[in-house]
Amino acid sequence: MKTNMIGNSGIYTMAAVALIAVSCEKTEYVETEPVLEGETIIVFDARYGDSDFELNKAYDYKLINPDGEFNLQYKFTRLRYWVSNVKFIKSDGSEVAVPDSYYLVEENNEIPVQDGTHGKVYPANKREEVAVKGIPAGDYTGVKFSIGVEPKYNDNLTLRTGELTPLNGMASDSWMWFTSYIFTSLSGEMTWVKETPESKTFFWETGSNEQYSEKTITFESPITINSQAVSNVELDVDVQQLIDFEYPWNNSAIGATTPELMDELTANYLEKAIGLRTASSTAK
């Protein structure tokens, strides 16, 4: 119901303006109750279990699988993923979709462009805050977003919206034959800690239309978003959960040729790693 109110009042406002304009009176039109859009910040705060997440730092990982117990160590060089199609949920369950909401969340070392052939790099970057703008004023009980890019844009790299671009290494490169976006990319080095330790690099990526999926976050109590309120939504992204595989050592490359592992990796993002820390709003 509320959704309708907002939508309709917008149209009524315009209709009012229209009448005034058409009749050419010199009345000054004053809006009684401005219904203004608000914005909120969503933070995707990467963590490793209980610690802060940092690149290039060794994290211990105890692997228990049917073959036994193993001591692994992970060092990460890259965590990048597309967040898209943000929708806010109203208390009546209806949803407000934010147009053009496509964001790249990333924490990465320098990445050589085209394997370094041009002597160029994508700069190291850390970006975990996303400012979502143009949200209709209201009280919201939760938020939904997707990891990845829906088929319309995934299938056509020339369509522009939000931050989507094939220029930042999150398209094509390792998915040449799909000519589409890489949805998530996590890589680094893993070490098997034993008498003579062994190390190898790992590249764990997801992509392709089948992997496009949505996450719902429910707030503990509703937050208010409008032009008069400051709000933010803090999410935990637990990288220790992202790497939760039964056989990580033998699967150091996950991508289009390992669809089942991509399914698992997508599920690790949506079902295990990403969760709510806090969501709050206060008057400005």
């Binding site: 229209a18 462009v113 041009h118 160029k120 056509n156 020339t158 040449m176 034959w177 000519t179």
Partner: protein
């Protein structure tokens, strides 16, 4: 439901707004002068579709315009699009060979390393509705262009550098702003290339003139007509219709072992896109048009001659679970039996599918070499 409704309302604002603007303009003409008439958009390009061809679905997000097609043509022949400045799309896709390259596996990309598959012909792409590449992995020409542009063994280009180079060139800034409102972007490079490639229509071979006019100078002789009916009957299950392709994917019995999982499954055909075991070794049916100028054949260029292809269909079909059932005889034996005469008739007919007008069409040639 609710979400849909919201979207709809969001859409309505500009519409309501536009209506308002009109009302305002009409109601208060004296105070608010009529807005300047909208500049009448870029000039559309009308694709000439042969009357016996099926309709082609226009690309809604990238309509053909005269300027866009012209720019795409220039870009298709442009070496600046590659890392070393020497490789253009046309290096591997040569017009006189129906935009293929005449070798089994190309080594003429920027790295000089062999590619993993044979270069396909490029024509009638406005009908290629089931994806591009031999396995159909790329969904449309717009996205496809990013493949060769960035592939280390094709053009090896960094898209940022591509934009810079075009911006710094003498001609391109104007050509792009004439064709696209947002000027030079990597996306517009791909859009322009896609537009040009959609204009590559081949439908003016002797066979076509015969089909459209019947008797006359183009009439097919008896052998050729025999060949036509043999092709319709024996090959038409896949190389079907006026396009001589069903734009679909089949395993045509050239391999029966798909254990090679190297190169990210490149040898497994359509399977690497669908993960459907029945798609192992299935590739997109190529058209039979212009096939007499586009040897060698198949996704890896393994057959050097058309006779080699016909021998394969007659006696070389490998029997496996995934071999297309159309390649079996009634008694269950693999192969499409063809006598020597029948093979000759088929080859005679295939020659009538060579579209000389297309292969020599100046509108598709390098604009920097030919007078328009």
């Amino acid at each position: 439901m609710a979400e849909k409704r919201n979207r709809k309302q969001a859409w309505m604002y500009p519409i309501v707004g536009a209506l308002l603007a009109m009302l305002v303009a009409q109601g208060c003409r004296k105070e608010t002068p009529m807005p300047e008439p909208e500049p009448s958009g870029p000039e559309p390009y009308t694709l000439a579709i042969p009357s016996h061809f099926p309709p082609s679905e226009p690309a809604a997000d990238n309509p053909l315009t005269v300027r866009g097609v012209e720019l795409g043509r220039k870009l298709f022949y442009e070496g600046l699009l590659s890392a070393n400045g020497n490789v253009s799309c046309a290096t591997c896709h040569r017009q006189e060979l129906a935009f293929s390259d005449g070798v089994a596996i190309a080594t003429h990309g920027v790295s000089g390393r062999p590619l993993e598959r044979h270069v396909p012909v490029l024509f009638n792409l406005a009908w290629a509705s089931s994806g591009l590449f031999w396995d159909g992995g790329s969904k449309n020409l717009e996205s496809q262009a990013f493949g060769p542009l960035t592939h280390a063994d094709e053009m090896g280009m960094d898209l940022g550098l591509l934009e810079t180079r075009l911006r710094e060139s003498a001609d391109y800034p104007k050509l792009f702003s004439d064709a696209f409102s947002d000027g030079i972007t990597a996306a517009n490079v791909a859009k322009a290339l896609a537009q040009f490639q959609r204009t590559l229509v081949s439908g003016n071979s002797r066979y076509d003139r015969y089909t459209l006019d019947g008797a006359g100078p183009s009439a097919l002789n008896e052998t050729e007509l025999h060949g036509l009916s043999l092709v319709r009957q024996k090959c038409g299950g896949c190389h079907s219709g006026e396009l001589f392709t069903d734009n679909s994917f089949h395993n045509n019995g050239i391999d029966d072992d798909f254990s090679d999982d190297s190169h990210e499954w490149i040898h497994r055909g359509r399977y690497r896109i669908t993960f459907d075991p029945m798609d192992l070794g299935a590739f997109k049916t190529p058209s039979l048009r212009n096939v007499m100028v586009s040897a060698p054949y198949m996704h890896d260029g393994r057959f050097a001659t058309i006779e080699g292809v016909l021998d394969h269909y007659a006696s070389g079909i490998k029997d496996s679970e995934v071999t297309d059932r159309l390649l079996y005889q009634r008694d269950g034996k693999p192969g499409i039996p063809m006598s020597g005469d029948e093979k000759e008739a088929i080859v005679a007919f295939l020659h009538t599918l060579t579209d000389e007008a297309f292969l020599g069409d100046r509108d598709f040639a390098n604009p920097n070499n030919t007078k328009k």
